[in-house]
């Protein structure tokens, strides 16, 4: 497999167009609205001049304000409306332009959508997509910065999707909307300028999608998702300069997770690090480590599995604190240098 994440500034030598992550989202919306009359959009800001970080530009004008609906400030009701409409042949996409506000919509997601199929014996299924945006940095502070994917991934019945590449941003959004289950699709504004050359649209079956190897390597497996996968890729490039070859795996879907690819990778590299932009306690990083360790003979490990996450604190505002709050490429590189260069015999007493 080749490297999929390109530098934002990289020129395309063949003169073909590079598509950014944010443009890829826009393309997916246009494709869905064009091809599927049962798709509609409901959420705050979809008629605003900013069009949700320019990922939904002019959809209201092109497809009509009846199908692209800017909503009252009512997260709970709007999300519930999506769940309800999805039971009657529609494929709604509910937009939460900032994930923090989606906490107000917990009941229709956690109690209703996630359990609807199960508690009614599979006789009805809410085919609703919730698009949640991680929008952080810039001293926005504790309630304008959250990445709550681990939280939602804890809930059986919710599929949680976190694309890290423009191609996935497009194709997994389409797959989410076409999936019969409720899906939380989470995009991260820090990825919006990532660019790659896109192949034609593929309609994927979300239930069959698995983690992907973004870069092959032999010394350590780094697992990430969304922006953390981008960080992992950049760290892997740095590490190559020191002849440390990291294998980078992008989770793509956080619930349910297919572990086969990750387990095989760790059996090859014998080392595991997970990078995640949410908190440590009960977070996806710990879950991946535990699930891998359960599936392997731990004696094959040459080092303790490790994770780089947010500290267990809310996001600060002041820029000096914000600067040390989020995982960074340097930190991943330094940690991996330490792990790979530490002789494994020093770790014998761990297991």
């Amino acid at each position: 497999m080749s490297m999929r994440l390109l530098d934002p500034n990289k020129q395309n030598l063949n003169g073909q167009r590079l598509t950014s992550y944010s443009e890829a989202i826009q393309i997916a919306f246009e494709y869905l609205l064009e091809k599927y009359p049962e798709v509609f959009i409901l959420g705050q800001g979809v008629w605003s001049p900013w069009y949700v970080g320019t990922t939904m530009k002019g959809l209201d004008k092109k497809f009509g304000k009846e199908r692209v609906i800017d909503s009252p400030v009512s997260e709970w009701a709007c999300t519930g409306l999506g769940v309800g409409a999805s039971l009657f042949g529609y494929k709604p996409i509910i937009i939460h332009p900032r994930m923090d506000f989606m906490v107000l919509a917990s009941d229709p997601l956690v109690n209703q959508a996630a359990k609807w199929s199960y508690m009614l014996g599979g006789q009805a299924n809410p085919q609703v997509t919730i698009r949640a945006i991680i929008n952080r940095g810039g001293e926005q502070g504790a309630q304008h910065s959250q990445a709550l994917h681990s939280w939602y991934a804890h809930i059986p019945g919710l599929r949680v999707v976190m694309p890290s590449t423009p191609k996935d941003a497009r194709d997994l959004l389409i797959a989410s909307v076409l999936c019969k289950d409720p899906v939380i699709y989470i995009d991260d504004r820090w990825l919006y300028d990532q660019k790659e050359m896109l192949s034609p649209i593929e309609e994927l079956d979300l239930s069959k999608e698995k983690p992907q190897i973004l870069k092959e390597g032999k010394d350590i497996t780094i697992v990430g998702s969304s922006y953390s996968s981008y960080l992992a890729m950049q760290a892997a490039k740095e590490l190559e300069k020191q002849r440390i070859f990291a294998e980078v795996i992008d989770l793509r879907i956080l619930n349910p997770i297919d572990y086969n690819i990750i387990v095989k990778s760790v059996e090859k590299t014998n080392r595991l690090m997970v990078v995640d932009g949410s908190w440590k306690n009960c977070g996806i990083a710990g879950e991946v480590i535990a699930s891998v360790v359960e599936r392997i003979d731990p004696r094959i490990l040459k080092s303790k599995p490790s994770r780089i996450t947010l500290p267990d604190s809310p996001a600060p505002t002041s820029k000096v604190l914000e600067d040390i709050y989020y995982p960074k490429i340097d930190r991943i590189v330094q940690n991996i240098e330490l792990i790979v260069k530490t002789p494994s015999k020093l770790l014998n007493n761990i297991f």
Binding site: S74, T79, L87, Q112, G121, A124
Partner: protein
Amino acid sequence: MLNLGDLANPKKFIDPIHIDRADSEFLIQALCMMMLIRETEQCIAELVKSGIANCPCHLAVGQEAISVGVARHLNKQDRVFGNHRSHTQYLALGGDLEELLAEILGKATGCSKGMGGSMHLYAGEQGFHGSVPIVAGTIPLAVGAALAAKFDQKGSVGVAFFGDGACEEGVLHESLNISSVMKLPMIFVVENNLYSSHLDIQQRQPFDSTSRFAEAHGIPYEVVEGNDVGAVEKAAAKLIQRSRDNKGPGFLEAVTFRWLGHVGSNEDIDVGIRRSLEEIKAWKKRDPVQRLFLALEKNEIMSQKEFQQHLQDIKKRVRQAKENALQAPWPKLENLESYVYASTGSE
């Protein structure tokens, strides 16, 4: 309006209800359905008492007229959602009796395949699209169903049944607002039984009529004696027709009282601040079944003998359904995780 006044007074409205002879066919059906609901609820109460039914069962003895009255004006294409106390709506809309009892017993033949119990009922083909115990939880879902109905342009409506307690949840207000501003074909039905669990409405709200919330959102409303099936169905007819004609949402507040406690087979006397034996006794005189029967008898539409015959038939039907449900198979153990996702393929 702010206060229910006489509508909340059990000493009022105790006479036979006012009926129109021309409507006798519906009234006989309504009486039989109300009797079926009551017999079923009493059967479930016995199953709870004897420890055979273990899931939480919220019974609606005394509240039968509301579902039956509203259901008269709904069809199978409408989208009705319930709450924790929804055996009434399920049966009134034509849900299968045996499947209801099997569901309550956790059997595979239940209306939700034994995965839901009393609080998660489903009869989609009859227009009943689900009930849940999270208070107010289905209200926005019903509004979403109404939005879908508006897109469909076939005159269907979304309907949410909920209680006075749900009016204290924020999402009701969000839902009223959005239904009004989007002019959705949505019917809000409040079964105001004056209690939420153990606590009476005077301890929870400054006024006892929930219709004030509809008024605040510019939604037409009707407030009726909920133990008078005629009053309920007439008010429902007006609001539902308006919604079908694309004129926006409606709000029906039907005042009633539950004879049994919040959950299970007890009467819940003195568990709260106001609920007393005297109050329950008084409300039993405002019995929706008796008042309808006496009206039918007075108008020579049904005799006491015919009433007894109906009652015996219904008792027999409920007994038979209970026996069948008791004999029905349990869910297969391998189905523990079968219904989590509708699409499959992952590990």
